[in-house]
C-alpha cells in the first residue's frame, strides 16, 4: 500500500442523518446510528421498534434519516426486518441491507423471542442493539440490560438492581450466527469497521453497541465519549467479535485495566454505592474479563 502523506479521515464523510433530529444532548444512540449508516450506506432499510430512536427520527411527516425507515412494533424489530428482507428479495432487490435498530429493552427483553427466531433461521439481517442500559424513552426503567448496582426509576437506591446485566452476546453466540460484535461509540473506527464487515456477511449479524444516555445515567452530556471509552478501558464492556458462534477475537486489550470507579463516579446512577459494593462489582468485572480471555484462548 502506498503511504499517504496527507491526513486521512478515518470515517467516510457521507452522512445519512441530518440535523433537526430530536435526540437529547450527548445521546450515544444517535452516534451509533450515524456510524452504522456510514458503513451500510445508501441502500439500507432500517426497522425501528419502540425505543428512543422512534422519537429521535422525528414525528410524521418528518424524518431525519436519508434512508427509508419502518417504525415497527416494540417486539418485532427482528421479525419485521426478516419480512422486509424477504419482500425486497421477491420484488427483485437483492442488494439492500436490512437493519433492525433496537434499544436494549427491545432486544434483551420484549424482542428476544423474535430475535432468537431470526438468529436460529439465520435470516439475512443486521440486528443492531444500541444499549443504554434501561428503558430510557419511557423514563429510565430497569431492563435486563441494566447493570448491577444501577439506580433507575423502578430500581430506587434502596432497592437498586441486584442482578447482573444479561449476557445477550453469549445468548446470540449460542445460536451460531455468522457474526457478532460488541462496539462502543467511543471507538468509532472500530464500530465502523465492524458494521462494514457485517454488511458483507450473509445471515444474521448482531452488533451490540454501547451508547451512554446522559439523561438516564445522570452523567454530563460532555462525558458521553469519555464514558464510552472508559467502559472499554475498565473491561466492563470489552470490544470483541464472535464468528460462527465460536471464534472469539478481542479487539482491544488494555495493558492495564482501569479501576471501575473511574467509570462509575461520572454517573449519578451509581452514586449511592458503598466502597464494599464497588469492590464487589470490581470482582465481577474481573471475573467476566477472565472468562472472556478463557473463551478466546480455548479457541486458539
Amino acid at each position: 500500500m502506498k503511504k499517504e502523506k496527507t491526513m486521512k479521515l478515518s470515517l467516510p464523510e457521507e452522512e445519512f442523518i441530518n440535523s433537526g433530529h430530536l435526540a437529547c444532548q450527548g445521546c450515544g444512540a444517535t452516534l451509533a446510528m450515524r456510524y452504522v449508516l456510514k458503513a451500510t450506506g445508501k441502500r439500507t432499510v432500517v426497522c425501528i421498534p419502540a425505543c428512543c430512536w422512534a422519537v429521535i427520527d422525528g414525528p410524521f411527516p418528518h424524518s431525519s434519516l436519508d434512508v427509508p425507515i419502518f417504525h415497527c412494533a416494540f417486539e418485532t424489530a427482528a421479525s419485521s426486518a426478516t419480512g422486509v428482507k424477504a419482500g425486497l428479495e421477491m420484488v427483485g432487490d437483492h442488494e439492500t441491507t436490512v437493519v433492525a435498530f433496537a434499544g436494549d429493552g427491545g432486544t434483551f427483553d420484549i424482542g428476544i423471542q423474535a430475535l432468537s427466531g431470526a438468529a436460529e433461521r439465520n435470516d439475512d439481517i443486521i440486528y443492531v442493539c444500541y444499549d443504554n442500559e434501561a428503558y430510557m424513552n419511557t423514563g429510565i426503567q430497569r431492563s435486563s440490560a441494566t447493570p448491577y448496582g444501577a439506580w433507575t426509576t423502578t430500581t430506587p437506591v434502596k432497592h437498586f438492581k441486584n442482578r447482573p446485566k444479561k449476557d445477550i452476546d453469549a445468548i446470540l453466540a449460542a445460536h451460531g450466527i455468522p457474526y457478532l460484535a460488541t462496539a462502543s461509540i467511543g471507538y468509532p473506527e472500530d464500530l465502523y469497521k465492524k458494521a462494514k464487515k457485517a454488511k458483507d456477511i450473509k445471515g444474521t449479524r448482531f452488533l451490540h453497541i454501547y451508547t451512554p444516555c446522559p439523561a438516564g445515567w445522570k452523567s454530563r452530556p460532555e462525558d458521553t465519549i469519555k464514558l464510552s471509552r472508559l467502559v472499554v478501558q475498565t473491561g466492563i464492556f470489552p470490544l470483541y467479535e464472535i464468528e460462527d458462534g465460536e471464534r472469539y477475537t478481542i479487539n482491544m486489550k488494555p495493558k492495564e485495566r482501569k479501576p471501575i470507579n473511574e467509570y462509575l463516579k461520572l454517573q449519578g446512577r451509581f452514586r449511592h454505592l458503598t466502597e464494599d459494593q464497588i469492590a464487589l462489582m470490581q470482582e465481577q468485572v474481573d471475573k467476566n474479563w477472565e472468562r472472556l480471555l478463557r473463551r478466546v484462548s480455548s479457541e486458539e
Partner: protein, 384 residues
C-alpha cells in the same frame, strides 16, 4: 380442474393461484394443512415465494407486514390463540395500510383447551380494521382468497378469510380450481404506490401527533365504507370469468318468508337445509347468510331484512355480558332504517357443539310462536 380437497387446502390453493410472494406462518391446529401444503408448493417450485417459518404468530404477522411494506404480496393463516397473539399487529397491518391476506380457522378460545369451532376468536378482532369474510364451502374459501387479494390491494386494507374448524377446514368437497392464466388475468401483480425502498426513502408509521392521527383513522374508515361496493364489483368480474359470484351475503328463499334466519359460516349451509325442510312443512322460512362481516354490509342487509316479518339471528359466538355479536350487529344495522321487526337472538354451538337442521328448525318455530323477544339470549342445546 375439479378436485376433491379439504377446506384448509382451499386456502393454500387460493394463495398459490394468487401468487403470494411471501408466506410467513406458525402451526396451530386446525390450520396446519394450510401451511403444510404451501411449504410443499414452495419446495417444489410450484409457487415462487419465500416461506418464513417463524417462531410465533406474532412474528408471522410482523414479517408479513414488513414484506408487504417492501412491496410483496403476502399471506398467512392461523386460528384462535394464534390470532389472539397477533392482535397488536392486526392493528398495525390495517393502520399502516398493508394489504395482507390471512386465513383464519374459527376455533374456540381457551381455557379449557378446545380445538373445535366457534367464532369468538375472529369476532374478538372485529375492531382491528380488517375486512372479515366468513365462508361456507371450500369453493367459496378458494374464490374468496383470490378476490380478497384484489379487494385488499385496491383499497390497501388487509383481509381475513374465515372458515369453521373441522366442519369446513377438514371436510373434503369438490372444488373447481381455476386455471392460473385466468387468475392472473383477474388479479394483476401487486404494485403499491409507496414501498420501503432506498430508491424513494420514506419513514412509515412514525410518531404521529394529534394534528395528523385523526385524519389517518378517518381515511381508514372512509375507505372501509367503499369496500362493500368494491366487493360487489370484484364479485361481478369474478362471475364473468369463473361463473361464481362471491358477494356480500347470500339470501335463500327470503322473499316471502314469515321467519328469516340470519346465519354465517357453515351454519349458513345447514340453514338452507332447515329452510327447505320447513318449507315442506308449509312454513315460509328463509335464510340470510352474512358473508362479509367487516365492513358490515348495511345497505343489502337493510334491503333484505326490511321485507322480513320476523328475524332469528343464530350466533356461534358471544360477547359476554351482552348478546351474540351478529345479533347486535343486525339490530344496530336495521334500527331506524326499516319498519319495526321483531328480532330474536339465539346462541348455539359454542366450542364446536353441532348445530343441526333440527336446532335451526326449532329456532324458526320459537320465533314464529312469539310476538316479541322475551329473553336477552335464547340458548340452544345448552345443558343448564
Amino acid at each position: 380442474m375439479k378436485k376433491v380437497i379439504m377446506g384448509n387446502h382451499s386456502l393454500s390453493y387460493g394463495a398459490m393461484l394468487s401468487r403470494a410472494q411471501v408466506i410467513s406462518a406458525y402451526p396451530i391446529t386446525p390450520q396446519t394443512q394450510v401451511v403444510e401444503l404451501l411449504s410443499e408448493m414452495c419446495a417444489n417450485n410450484v409457487l415462487d415465494a419465500k416461506f418464513i417459518k417463524v417462531e410465533s404468530e406474532h412474528s408471522a404477522m410482523a414479517s408479513c407486514i414488513g414484506a408487504s411494506l417492501a412491496g410483496a404480496r403476502t399471506f398467512t393463516a392461523t386460528s384462535a390463540q394464534g390470532l389472539a397473539l397477533m392482535h397488536e399487529l392486526l392493528h398495525w397491518a390495517s393502520g399502516g395500510r398493508m394489504p395482507v391476506v390471512m386465513g383464519n380457522i374459527n376455533r374456540a378460545m381457551a381455557p379449557g383447551w378446545s380445538i373445535w369451532t366457534d367464532q369468538n376468536d375472529s369476532l374478538s378482532q372485529r375492531d382491528t380494521g380488517w375486512i372479515q369474510i366468513y365462508c361456507s364451502s371450500n369453493q367459496e374459501v378458494l374464490d374468496t382468497v383470490i378476490q380478497a387479494f384484489k379487494v385488499s390491494e385496491k383499497i390497501m386494507i388487509p383481509s381475513m378469510v374465515v372458515l369453521d374448524a373441522f366442519v369446513l377446514s377438514h371436510t373434503y368437497e369438490v372444488v373447481d380450481i381455476p386455471d392460473q392464466e385466468k387468475v392472473d388475468a383477474y388479479l394483476p401483480p401487486f404494485k403499491p404506490e409507496f414501498t420501503l425502498t432506498p430508491d424513494d426513502p420514506h419513514a412509515f408509521g412514525g410518531l404521529t401527533s394529534p394534528e395528523h392521527y385523526f385524519e389517518l383513522r378517518y381515511m381508514l374508515q372512509k375507505d372501509m365504507e367503499k369496500v362493500p361496493a368494491l366487493i360487489q364489483e370484484t364479485a361481478k368480474e369474478f362471475e364473468e370469468m369463473f361463473g361464481r359470484y362471491p358477494g356480500l351475503v347470500e339470501a335463500y328463499r327470503c322473499e316471502d318468508a314469515d321467519v328469516t334466519l340470519v346465519t354465517s359460516g357453515t351454519v349458513g349451509y345447514t340453514a338452507r337445509v332447515a329452510v327447505d325442510m320447513l318449507r315442506e312443512e308449509g312454513i315460509k322460512a328463509g335464510n340470510l347468510r352474512i358473508k362479509v362481516f367487516r365492513p358490515f354490509p348495511f345497505e343489502i342487509i337493510r334491503k333484505i331484512l326490511g321485507e322480513a316479518r320476523k328475524v332469528a339471528v343464530v350466533d356461534r359466538n358471544i360477547s359476554y355480558g351482552h348478546h351474540g355479536i351478529f345479533y347486535e350487529e343486525v339490530k344496530s344495522a336495521i334500527y331506524g332504517f326499516t319498519k319495526d321487526i321483531p328480532i330474536f337472538g339465539f346462541i348455539a354451538g359454542l366450542g364446536g357443539r353441532d348445530i343441526t337442521p333440527e336446532d335451526l328448525k326449532g329456532i324458526a318455530h320459537y320465533a314464529l310462536k312469539k310476538d316479541r323477544p322475551e329473553e336477552e339470549i335464547v340458548w340452544i342445546g345448552v345443558k343448564k
